[in-house]
Symmetry: D2
Subunit: 335 residues, 4 copies
């Protein structure tokens, strides 16, 4: 059986997923695409090797030739498109964030629970990265004892003018927020943001770097450097310290070069390369789960929790204070 | 278009490739399998999700529902099965070795040249490993100057009783033989084998470890430690030293653990995990090349050269002397 | 010329310094020792190969056979003994801390300034560690751009029952406080302490680990994990992030071992081994400076600043708030 | 007691040792120096802070104000100067080589044995390097099982015009020859040299790089790349492979820098920095042993064996063949 995918949104990430579904993923093909920009949609459909352009998003989501939906529209529309897929009873992979507000995310939870079984997977691809998976295996296996602290860094080479101070929480830190919840198996209960001396290599409206602090329900403290104009490359660090040891996310395997008085390796410049394998594994796992009829991976609850923590972090940016995260009670449906 | 693959041989590696073609590779499916062991063939066909069991190998190779052939039969039959595929004008991916004798390999070259265009790819998967690819890119880009030496090691945790001293050349060193030819762009012209003090962790009939020395047409010297009962894991080392620097194959990216007085990472225990990504990329590239109608990757010439060098290495094991490799002239067809 | 050293205090660190001055350092010998515990003093004097036991500390400090004084008495007496050395016009190396209160430290500053030239060096040995020196050279040379953040960790395997929550600031973090001031060339202006989930591997009265945050006058943010019962070893991390790059303190050079499915190195268990070379270089530099008649190295001002920041950190431990460090104006004498 | 050292030879290495003895080493001072070049000797004596210039070498060696002799004269005179020291019954530290011919080295052995107790230490400083010491400790402790192979490299950035093909064996490889004997506890019984493609970055008379192969009495195989114009830095590699694991000499601890798309560290450019600590430890151990009246460290036998293996290696350079090393029987005196 080949799973027929309808793709909502044919921007950069949408086109990457279409390429992936067409050339890399086993057991799937893109059958339809939808985008407000008709020219973009035509181009994407052609790249998929014979997909059609849907009249609009509702038509695509409800169409007979669409078994499952991949949402890569603009962030503000994510919740609406996911709700439409749930209403149609179709599995949906939604790029993060699930929603831009906690209320919208809660609407997705309610709809999915009403539907009666899981349909939604949120695109936190790091859960599919081999390095993160090894972290989780080591922690879960007791290799470092009970976790006490996490030290993280999320560094991009540069960001363009559209990137805002809030996006450091909503778009960037959200990856570490989900990864920490997943690695530790605990919810985050508070957020704080400290602003170090700012780099000059940024647009004036942006606070960069930012130093974020989170606490989990069990008292684990997480610190996260977000530095999106670090100049030297794309660099992700994650270290979990437990009662008897620590485990650290590996750097990508790169050839060591000794030359001109230095020994070292190259560093990735863009995030796409760093997590290319994670994206492949993520989408293949989603396609397999669609074929098997059982959603797996990061759930709508995970999407809701990440959105809620990111919202608290944005408030912490503004106030400078420690901001509590007040999650709704977790439905038994997501236990 | 979905490429329909016929698989010849359903032993361990055949079954892995069937699993890969069925669950991981995009644009292909296994349509038929053949094996002398009918029960094994039935099981493999079922695992492929609806492939049929062919009456015999010739029937499979010539069948209408087979677009391309994957040869994973026993080594002594490789050449015969590849020749049948070439006779049928079908693309064929043959696990290494292409042939067990240089003469058989030459017959494949002659047949393919007579056919008039490339049909054969030999399964040297390291050419598809990201680490080896980075080595090649650095060397070709002048990052270490003109190459002068290579230092390699090929270590397995253990080998079973069937593994022989000759297999250290034919089955083990053959990977480094091909990788060196590919990285350096030169043929190997001589081989020598030195026998260090033997490990006690081996079956008595086996010389282990072995220290092999190769020379290329341009005078590059390659040394290779083959140690197939090293006990500690599966470990592949490759370092190329040039006039101005050196480049070294990376170890796999593994999480660093600090615990109990030690800092370090785990080491792969089996070769399958170490090169899993390389196998995926290799087979996907082959499927893509079949769909595109143009063979790429390691050629029958590469398979012939590796077999010839391995044969010289076996002679060097026996004699202790430096043994010349006398390759047939390279046909313009393979230029 | 051989510098004759009088050692005040013959506890564990005092005896180590006596051994060092006797067997490792060039151009010095221990001529006299003093300790309240006469038996301990006798033993230390014998170990120095012919030093005498002074009647008391004042006698030692003023004696004709003492050119310079090394203070390794108990912390509360440091300031008194340093003041006595300054009164006698003799160079003095005082183990950290210079004083247990900022007021006592200010008395040392006043006395030294009144004397008219520098006599005091404080024992912050990390400034003499090759790794820290390389950090400083890279930062000062512009290799990472303007510094914005520092991420540090100070981990001990275990601490005994006498170790208190306050000592995490006064005895442990004080090393990073001085190192940060020295690496960045800026004073620290505030301190905050966050208490993560506590380890069970500690005495009940102790908060462990602690997560400390400092800010410099220029806005650089420093975070420091203090974890004194981490179980796995003695481990010091220091990473400075600048506008264009980062530099990280190296782990000690240790032989890589591949064995039993793991690759890695040993980790130091005790701090003595980790900084043995730094202590040697520190004491040799002090002896050389005494012979040259010109004090160098960490000054009384550095000792004062570290004590003041540590005091603010202790207050931050108690209050949970951000505590300002209000340093006295820096005398031109220490410019 | 201060050991009074007479230094024979005030060239570059002699002056370094004089500086070391004067400023770094505890318990010693340079009392006299001798050199054919009187001006050089005067300068060196002044640098030692009050040493005298001896009339000639015999006068220095027999003088009452010389307790022990450090030989750093030109290589061809080493044996003569060591023999004079032995004749005078004085401890002597001789820079490698002990002698330029095996016969001369045997004369030293005979003289020392006739004297009745050890007086001679040969300057193989690597035995005092912390990294090599850790290698030895791991091997001796059974951490890798019984050794089977060693892989070594000795790379210099460049060498001047005076450096000859023979010196690659006599002056360069001699360090690895001694280190291998010491690490493995076995004599080397044969040598072979293979000449890879030569680098263009060399003077035309020089073969560079060279690939050397040694065998020990127990069958351990040692390979050594000597590459003295590698351009990128001074780089020493040593890896010992045993039946159950391997251990590798660490690179020096250097700060990791992430900048401009690369992560890495600097590489030493000159050998002096790489082994500075080893030289300090070596000379301090020698001075201590002189004070204690009992020679330790690499013996005259070690010096003889290294010279004999180097001579065989030179013959192997010329003939291309495997050359046996025929050592004289080891006197019980050196057991």
């Amino acid at each position: 059986m080949t799973v027929r995918i309808g793709v909502v949104g044919t921007g950069a990430i949408g086109r990457e997923h279409i390429e992936r579904l067409t050339r890399t993923i086993s057991g799937a093909r893109v059958s339809a695409v939808a985008d407000i920009d008709a020219a973009l949609a035509e181009k994407a459909a052609a790249a998929a090797g014979g997909a059609r352009v849907a009249a609009d998003v509702p038509e695509l989501i409800t169409a007979d030739d669409v078994d499952a939906v991949l949402v890569t529209s603009w962030h503000a529309a994510h919740a609406e498109h996911v709700l439409a897929a749930v209403a149609a009873g179709k599995p949906v992979l939604c790029e993060k964030p699930l929603a831009t507000t906690a209320d919208d995310a809660l609407r997705v939870l309610a709809a999915e629970e009403a539907h009666g079984r899981r349909l939604v997977q949120v695109g936190f691809m790091r859960r599919f990265d081999p390095g993160y998976r090894e972290l989780r295996r080591v922690i879960a296996g007791g290799g470092i004892g009970r976790p006490l602290m996490m030290h993280c860094a999320h560094r991009n080479r540069t960001q363009g003018e559209r990137y805002t101070t809030e996006m450091a929480a909503q778009d960037t830190a959200v990856h570490e927020i989900d990864a920490a919840r997943w690695l530790l198996g605990e919810e985050i209960v508070s957020a704080q943001v400290i602003m170090p001396r700012a780099t000059d290599h940024r647009f004036p409206h942006l606070r960069d770097p930012q130093f974020m602090l989170f606490e989990t329900a069990g008292g684990v403290r997480i610190d996260l450097e977000v530095f999106v104009n670090c100049q030297y490359g794309y660099d992700i660090r994650c270290e979990t310290v437990g009662e008897t040891g620590l485990v650290r996310l590996p750097d990508p395997a790169r050839a060591e070069i000794r030359s001109a008085g230095r020994v070292g390796t190259e560093i990735d410049q863009e995030w796409g390369g760093r997590f290319a394998e994670a994206f492949d594994v993520e989408v293949q796992a989603w396609v397999d789960s669609v074929a098997d009829g059982a959603a797996t991976g990061p759930s709508a609850w995970d999407g809701y929790a990440a959105t809620a923590v990111a919202a608290a972090t944005v408030e912490a940016q503004r106030t400078g204070a420690v901001v509590d995260v007040n999650l709704a009670p977790r439905p038994a449906f997501y236990a």
